[in-house]
Symmetry: none
Subunit: 387 residues, 2 copies
């Protein structure tokens, strides 16, 4: 059962017309959320409104708590010690966030990786490399979108941990192709949203998600952002917050890299490797007393989730196939990586890959790399616009 205080806090938060700044001010000015709610009604009346703002009932608030808990999630209010400290620095920090997964992860040093949904193979490759390398030192935050976001989360899961900020409710999988990824991130990292359960993400929700991404992170790395893309909104917020902005350069001939190049012109840190990011994280040294340079990339942070144990050699091939497929994506993966990750014997992996290739599910690429053929997904990469 949630505390009475939290119930009222949620009612205040969910009252129509009460934005994050108003909510925070009301809570600061009044002794309790209940007092703030009472004041709210009075204020609205004295402000000349004919109807008082509709404040959700105690039962409605309880229902939101119940639904969130049923999903395995948790509502965290801004005055709670578990509220992400960097996010709390925002003037318009969300008064409440819904979290599925490891709440403690939200307090750890994080870097966001954002970029276009219709990214090029080169962009996706950069996202993969940067996320994989950075995740050894920091948490990777992204927006669970197709393209750069999805690849960044996936790569981060290989070497470290990741947080997905989403626009819809915790129980809403979006985009559908990342349904499995969203589930895995909730299990091994954290999924965070401002939306109530059941909320279907709409265009107007994405700026809030972008604010979460920037707010949670010490820095934002932009890979392939077209001009006027959603990724640039995230970096604007980061800049306003005094967080570092990193941009991967690209050819002026590709419109997908123009936004990033503009950022470089404005002073963003030119980023080619994870070290470029770690060397320039303002505040990173303060949080990690040895400083980013001395920490380097060699020392992976302690990780409290275990990879699943080796499958029994006698395990049937279909189980192995499932595992290999889940580890593969459209981005080419080296067979060594695959073997290390799937914890199957090399012979089994080779056999499975051959089988997958013969059935047209996997393509073999030079350098002993393999990619899952996701026809529908790859087509939509090219035609869709960034959020």
């Amino acid at each position: 059962m949630p505390a009475e205080n939290d119930i009222h806090c949620l009612r205040l938060t969910r009252t129509e017309g009460v934005g994050p700044i108003t909510c925070r001010r009301l809570l600061e000015r009044h002794r309790s959320p209940e007092a703030a709610l009472a004041a709210l009604s009075a204020m609205a009346r004295s402000g000349g409104k004919t109807t008082a703002p509709r404040i959700p009932s105690v039962a409605e608030a309880e229902r939101e708590f119940e639904r969130t808990e049923k999903l395995g999630g948790r509502l965290i209010f801004i005055n709670n010690p578990d509220y992400p400290p960097l996010l709390a620095q925002l003037d318009d920090a969300p008064p409440v966030i819904a979290v599925l997964g490891d709440v403690a992860l939200l307090a750890k040093t994080a870097v966001a990786i954002v970029g276009g949904r219709n990214a090029s193979a080169a962009g996706l490759r950069m996202a993969e490399t940067l996320a994989e390398d950075l995740a050894r030192s920091v948490t990777i935050v992204s927006g669970l979108a197709r393209g750069i976001d999805g690849v960044a989360h996936t790569a981060a899961l290989r070497t470290g941990r990741t947080v997905a900020a989403i626009a819809g409710g915790l129980d809403v999988a979006y985009p559908t192709e990342n349904t499995n990824l969203q589930r895995v991130i909730a299990e091994r990292g954290a999924v965070i949203t401002e939306a109530t359960p059941g909320t279907q993400p709409q265009a107007r929700h994405f700026p809030r998600r972008n604010r979460l991404i920037a707010g949670l992170s010490l820095g934002v790395v932009v890979i392939e952002a077209a001009r006027r893309s959603g990724s640039l909104i995230t970096t604007r917020i980061a800049q306003d917050l005094g967080r570092e902005v990193f941009a991967v350069p690209g050819s002026p001939l590709d419109p997908r890299t123009r936004g990033g190049n503009d950022l470089l012109r404005e002073g963003a840190v030119l980023t080619e490797t994870a070290q470029d990011v770690l060397d320039n994280l303002s505040g990173f040294g303060a949080l990690f007393p040895f400083g980013p340079k001395r920490r380097g990339l060699s020392e992976p942070p302690p990780c409290d989730f275990d990879d699943p144990p080796y499958l029994d050699a006698a395990s049937n091939l279909s189980q192995a196939r499932e595992r290999v497929v889940s580890l593969l994506g459209p981005t080419p993966t080296k067979v060594d990586d695959l073997m290390r990750r799937c914890q199957l014997s090399p012979a089994v992996v080779i056999a499975v890959l051959l089988e997958l290739e013969l059935s047209g599910l996997v393509e073999t690429l030079p350098g002993n790399r393999f990619a899952l053929l996701m026809d529908a997904a790859s087509q939509s990469h090219q035609t869709e616009q960034n959020v």
Copy 2:
């Protein structure tokens, strides 16, 4: 007949062991080149040298004058009013330069465009666009090498004028594939060198050529320079001279753009268009009282220079494949561009692309564009060095 003064000046310049700085000092200290030559012998003796430096004879100097004039060229000494004013600012300005073409052009505002010889199609396309646009306002200086240099000269000829700084003698065509281009530049622009007629360009001559390029130019634009490439030597000289350095950004996955990205990190002007260059030319406003913006882009002069002919259609496919791969990079390139660049018949290009795609080296993108999957290509590119 050259003036007696110039004969002695040339003898001093061509004396073994007399570098540009020594030469200049000797000329400043003594009343005449003849007096400087006399002092040189005396100084060498008193310096304890058993043999005096070998000073070329009057006849030898006269022969160099004759050979240069026979070529249609001219020797210009540093104290001559026709000596390029920006080049004269160098502490180690060459005491004499040999020029074929329009000497007056060397006094006009110039911008250098430099880059790798094994450039990608995207890089060549950038060189072409920038040179064509910039040449409407300024003279384009480059080094007549394969790749970026050649394309920059050729494109500049379409809309304006260009100066080629070369490492060998005026009568030596290098590289052979640019023989025709060298001739056209001498006719419509200027070719400049420090070397005597007949000098075959060797590796040790190229730093001098690079110094000419930087010295003649108010700014240097770098397109696709690998780390430790000759183009970066040119930019170092430009930086030391206080000239502006411009760099075109590129994907970190392509080693050919790393040098340029490094320059951006160090503060080079991020360059996507000619306007980026014109807006940042220090001293440009002073030389052109109306300022770069108001000068704008005027009418291009007529140009009858032709691109080199198509390769014989019978050329074998492996050669064609090599050429197509070298032109591709992670940045998507239009097939039209590719065809134009590689000088192979469309049928051959299509066949090669299909072959490359099937072998997983190239990905096909919407809009008839192709990109190299960098893992596959990295071996060939990474091992090659730019001059």
